[in-house]
Symmetry: C2
Subunit: 411 residues, 2 copies
């Protein structure tokens, strides 16, 4: 590497503030960060102030303290929740703060803990924080999620390397897929976002009725919601700011129809969910609903997840990612959806996004449901794409157009 | 040491939860912790859950992020404040949470930063957080402040030792003055608190009109408030819980009369204030008010402090600590008021405590003022005692009773 680690970390912070968050002049910023991400968080705070932010408020969370709860807290206390912290975040939105999450999570932090307690705690958190997460996913402000290397995460990604080298390699990968190793990262991001925007416009012009996925263990027809919109790359927040909600991002995505998904689908990567690894997922859909679900690993967590609510058994997102994406090309498995979902086409169980529906921010819940949108406490991405998967677009008249072949865009 | 470091850390956490916070069965706990105090914080959370807490909410603060603000934020933004975080803490009190602060601060973190910006930021913080700090000092819940070793703090205390050894020595000192090196720390604390309680009762029976301090550079008469009460050791919160607000604690303290302080007084230890060291303080009082103030180091910070409000130039606390206290006997200078104020008699500029006034929690502000209590945004302790300082109690009739000689209790 020609640049020092410190300089690349600063550049990642700069890309985060300018491209990801899209911080506006003088805008305040609320950061929620894994305590393991302290070095990157500090750089981000510096770059935010340099960009003119009038106040940066940072809340660190410590997964070790969550683990202590599972180990020692009273067994009947896992539906307790500090609602005043959600209220504080809602007030930050009211006051015009931008929002940034910095992940550095241990993909297996809760391995071995009681799945029923995990279900209680995660459903409680999802329920109480929904007013906030709805406003974030509805672009009430400009927002972004990024990742920082941490020892346990690095160990998962590079298990055969010595610890110090694991961290170096994970940082190198993070820098590369976030384009901060390039000469002008801001220009590289602009070009990439323009490309995603063109793809979004092409797909929106098609008005496909459905997508058809075919590959090993997969033969799935995903009907699209009436008035579905494709999105990807940058988004426009209600305050007019342009932000990129996930860094890195390689996907274009839209809203499936909650009642029009049929067939078998098989996962192509593991996912970390509530501190557990889930691998080898297979599901069968009928009329949009999961009617069979298996996991080679994490069956009980998957089972609890699907029982969260009625919408947890239906899809809220379908996303296309080419196998030529830098993350797929790295050949790495990150065990972190923020990264892995940008290496492969994927589905999400649970809530759909208003931005992926025409006029979505202004429809009533009934109107959204009628269009095929899905409602749930959860939104869980899982990867179904690979270089062995083909995707067709099905036109309203039933015509079949090849979209992806062997995981790559046809055009 | 016969016990492992890990076991002593666990014992300190246990003393914190059981003696300091006095956590009640099932009670929730809010922790505000310096991120450098992560290892002790984790132990405290574990001990709190083991003691039956139904939820522990932890907020970490990072002094490096404060420093980033001073370095890079717009110069006109230092009166911005995240009031929603204070509101969240107030709601935690409403919901019956106990409160714990874990310090590990760098005594010189803001050295070299603009004193005017420090004034703006610290006054803004004091003003907005006053509703919360008033409820804490008024024992709205059981609460406690403790300290944890951190590299920068250890470097200040043991400048001539290698870094690793600095941390070991500071932890050793912290364990010792918190009595966790003793065979039964909980029993040792009970005996110590009983001793402080006896001293409080003796002093309350005396009804002194004033205290008279004499030593090098000091000849100060501190009139006591009408209806003053002495306190020390454990306190009783409004929820009935018994807590020890500071660990360690060696002081007994009461309310000076805001208009009855006369003479010269000289500091006997430096203090860290707003990330700066202040040394060699000399002040002259007339009718309770500071009329001359010098500092060999930190003059500008002191000057700003005294200008906070009218009450900042008057006393809110006078405290007696014998030179035989374990902290004084350690011979160490901690540059942290939580520790140093328990090594020497001290005064505090600023607000007095309701608990140190008869019926104090129920008097109107006017009644408190009439009794001699002081009101201010600040409460800053500074040390005036040493083995060279004598203290007399002045009876209502003008009689002189020796209380301390050469820094030690007479009886």
């Amino acid at each position: 590497m020609s640049q020092s680690f410190e300089e690349q970390l600063r550049r990642l912070a700069e890309v985060t503030v300018r491209v990801g968050v899209g911080l506006q002049p003088g805008q305040k910023l609320f950061i929620n960060a894994n305590l393991e991400a302290r070095p990157l968080t500090r750089r981000v705070v510096e770059e935010a102030y340099k960009a003119g932010s009038r106040l940066v408020v940072t809340q660190f969370y410590d997964e070790q303290l969550s683990l202590a709860r599972y180990r020692y807290a009273p067994r009947d206390s896992f539906e307790e929740y500090a609602t005043f912290m959600v209220e504080a975040r809602l007030k930050a939105l009211d006051e015009g703060y931008a929002w940034l999450s910095i992940l550095a999570d241990d993909p297996e932090i809760l391995q071995g803990q009681d799945p029923e307690l995990i279900r209680q705690a995660s459903q409680t958190a999802a329920r109480y924080s929904k007013p906030f997460s709805d406003r974030i996913s509805g672009f009430a402000t400009n927002w972004c999620i990024i990742g920082a290397a941490s020892p346990r995460w690095a160990q998962m990604v590079f298990p055969d390397e010595p610890p110090q080298r694991q961290m170096e390699l994970l940082w190198e990968a993070i820098f590369k897929v976030n384009r901060v190793d390039q000469t002008d990262p801001l220009a590289a991001w602009q070009a990439h976002l323009d490309g995603l925007e063109r793809r979004v416009q092409q797909l929106n012009a098609k008005r496909y009725a459905a997508l058809h996925f075919r590959g090993p263990g997969t033969d799935l027809r995903v009907g699209l919601a009436d008035g579905h919109l494709w999105a990807g790359g940058a988004g426009r927040a209600q305050n007019g700011a342009r932000c990129v909600p996930n860094l890195p991002t390689e996907e274009v995505f839209t809203t499936p129809h909650r009642e029009r998904v049929e067939g078998w689908v098989q996962s192509t990567k593991p996912l970390s969910l509530h501190g557990h690894l889930l691998e080898g997922l297979r599901m069968r859909f009928e009329q949009g609903q999961v009617v069979e679900a298996h996991a080679e690993r994490g069956q009980e967590i998957l089972h609890h997840l699907l029982q969260t609510d009625e919408g947890a058994r239906r899809l809220g997102e379908v996303a296309l990612v080419p196998h030529s994406s830098p993350i797929a090309q790295s050949g790495l498995l990150f065990y972190e959806a923020l990264y892995d979902e940008n290496a492969a086409s994927h589905l999400a169980l649970g809530a759909s996004y208003d931005e992926c529906l025409q006029n979505g921010h202004h429809l009533t819940p009934e109107q959204k449901r009628a269009a095929g949108a899905n409602h749930s406490l959860i939104h869980i991405d899982w990867m179904i794409g690979s270089e062995q998967v083909d995707v067709d677009g099905i036109t309203p008249s039933g015509g079949v157009e090849p979209l992806m072949r062997r995981g790559e865009w046809v055009d």
